[in-house]
Amino acid sequence: MTSEASGEATTTSEAAARTADLGDRGGADPDIKRRKLHVLEQMANRGIFFFTAALVLIAALFIDGFASLENITDVFHRAAPIGIVAVGMTFVVISANYLDLSVVAQVATAAVVLIGVSNNSNIPMAIGLALLIALAYGIVNGVAVGVFKANAVIVTLSTTFIGLGLLRWASGGSIYFGPSDGPIRSFGTTEIGPFPLSMIVLVVIAIGLHFLLNRTTFGFLLKSYGSNRNATRLAGVNTALVVVGAFLISALGSTIGGFVLAAFSNTAVSAMSSGFDFEALAAIIVGGTSVFGGKGSVLRTLLGVVFVSVLTNIMVLSGLGFGYQQMAIGALIAAAVSVDALARRAAGK
């Protein structure tokens, strides 16, 4: 049992290290001047690799029940929906628009629509409707921020309340249960080794978004907009489309995240996604995507998701309640952003 358990942990950290390598290569700028990096910059750039590895190691060594196949599968099950939301939201953060608070409403809506509508008609109908709603979210948020130049935090705060209000009003706040067998249920329960199918979906989406960010004109313009929006606009770029695109990707990620969440629990209720906004943000920032915009990587967000999920899991296993978990994630956000801000100052930017 013990030997098997420790073997499990090494595979996880190895996988994490491999993803990390990939992320670094994608995010590195070949033109950057070679110079001695400040210690804070090192921490902001590479810290996440060491912290994640250290956290997984500590958890495997000192936390009872962490390094069991059952627990690790459970961590993956819980990490997948937040991860899919986070990789999508990474685009909004890179565009220097802080975050998309409305993912809470979007995830819940997608979950309720998937289970509720597929119970009454069929699954393609449910997925189609949910994607239409995602399109609406992306366009409303994106136009308000990109065209009207409104503050993204306030805009998405208001769309969260509008969206959750509409969802509760339409669903009557009731809980929807999926059928005990069928495609949704089998998607949610299929596991390949320790990896649930949802985790594989997350990795595939992350790799796709990684290419979108690093190999396409859109990704290039997004980073450019995030680091200097006026210069990008003056270069003749239609910046509104870039912002709408970022919010559309976030909406798409939240919707797929909602599907995965609903499939895993086979239930859907409007309150099921509370806290997704902050956990996703924590994963993004801890991963090293800068809240100042312009700099970030999807694969690093993946690593951030591992970090946040393992941290939450450690707290749950140690019997620390909801309050402690919230405090930890809040402190994590504040600490990661502080390191980023101080590193920037040290670099003289």
Partner: protein, 316 residues
């Protein structure tokens, strides 16, 4: 827009002005504190949790006076911590106070053991909810008092007037010799103190402190401040505007409640009001008219490639 909304809803809300006043007071108080921060172009999202933490701190201390003092001190400390992150570390206030919002919500849960804390001195709470002078409960009197103090502070006191300068043009303010960092510290501490005060009032009236208190206050207080005409970029706005915003929102809310509109629908309406308010401030209008003009002049060259990958993800 505000005036129209008020006029339409006034007949219904007028019959129960006492309830209306109470509603305005809680949201309005938080919004008044926010005004000080928003005037400088910063934002304090942590007010909702500050309210909860202050209430829980007060309720867990047996001595009422000591509890109130402790709660207010906690509010000041939270404000100072926010300002530290913004000014000294250099984090954008949206993100810094967002982290604090989460951290403090957790703290409220930890202190209260995830359950509402009963006030040990229930009599004080009950008498606090009763009208003191005429129809006015202490809550409303405190709101009016805070309003007057804030108004005088921002218009008559030099420190307060400098808030406008800091928000209008930070570099110019610095060059004019205004201690910008200290003003921002003051602003956040005012916001923290006022939010803590609202938490105390809330807990006193309910005779119990709920760690989840304040989650709806966040939306309403921002809506009140922004509907009241404060520019999020800073430098413009007044406590009168905030009062007007809080009043019209409070009346709207009470009118909706009286006409038996569900809470969900109320959230939709208030969310929409905030949404419209935030996209219709002068800067936004200027941005839109600018882009319409450039669009009419013949669009941009580079806009096409940015469409393709986006559509690709939508299909895939």
């Amino acid at each position: 827009m505000v005036a129209t909304g008020t006029w339409i809803t006034q007949p219904v809300a007028f019959t129960s002005y006492q309830v209306t006043l109470g509603r305005i007071a809680l949201v309005g108080l938080v919004a008044l504190g926010l005004t000080a921060v928003i005037l400088m172009g910063e934002l304090d999202l942590s007010v909702a949790s500050t309210l909860a933490v202050a209430g829980v701190v007060m309720a867990s201390i047996d001595n009422l006076a000591l509890g109130i003092i402790a709660a207010l001190v906690v509010g000041l400390l939270i404000g100072a911590a926010n300002a530290f992150l913004v000014v000294v570390v250099g984090i954008n206030s949206f993100i810094a106070t967002l982290g604090m919002l989460f951290l403090l919500r957790g703290l409220a849960f930890v202190i209260s053991d995830e359950e509402p804390v009963r006030l040990s001195n229930i009599d004080a709470g009950i008498s606090f909810g009763k009208p003191l002078i005429g129809e006015f409960t202490p809550r409303i009197l405190l709101f009016i008092f805070t309003f007057i103090v804030m108004h005088l502070f921002l218009t008559r006191v030099r420190v307060g007037r400098e808030f406008y300068a800091v928000g209008g043009n930070r570099q110019a303010a610095r060059d004019a010799g205004i201690p910008v960092r200290r003003r921002i510290f003051t602003g956040f501490m005012i916001s923290g103190l006022v939010a803590a005060g609202s938490g105390v009032i809330n807990a006193l009236e309910r005779t119990a402190a709920d760690p989840t208190a304040g989650s709806t206050v966040l939306l309403s207080s921002f809506a009140a401040a922004i509907v009241g005409g404060i520019l999020l970029n800073g430098g413009r706005g007044s406590v009168f505007g905030t009062l007007l915003g809080a009043t019209s929102l409070g009346i709207l809310q009470v009118a909706l409640t009286l006409s038996v509109v569900q809470v969900d629908v109320q959230n939709i309406i208030i969310g929409s009001v905030l949404f419209i308010a935030v996209i219709s401030d002068p800067n936004s209008i200027r941005a839109v008219s600018g882009s319409v003009r450039s669009f009419l002049r013949g669009g941009s060259v580079l806009s096409k490639p940015s469409v393709d990958p986006k559509e690709a993800t939508n299909n895939g």
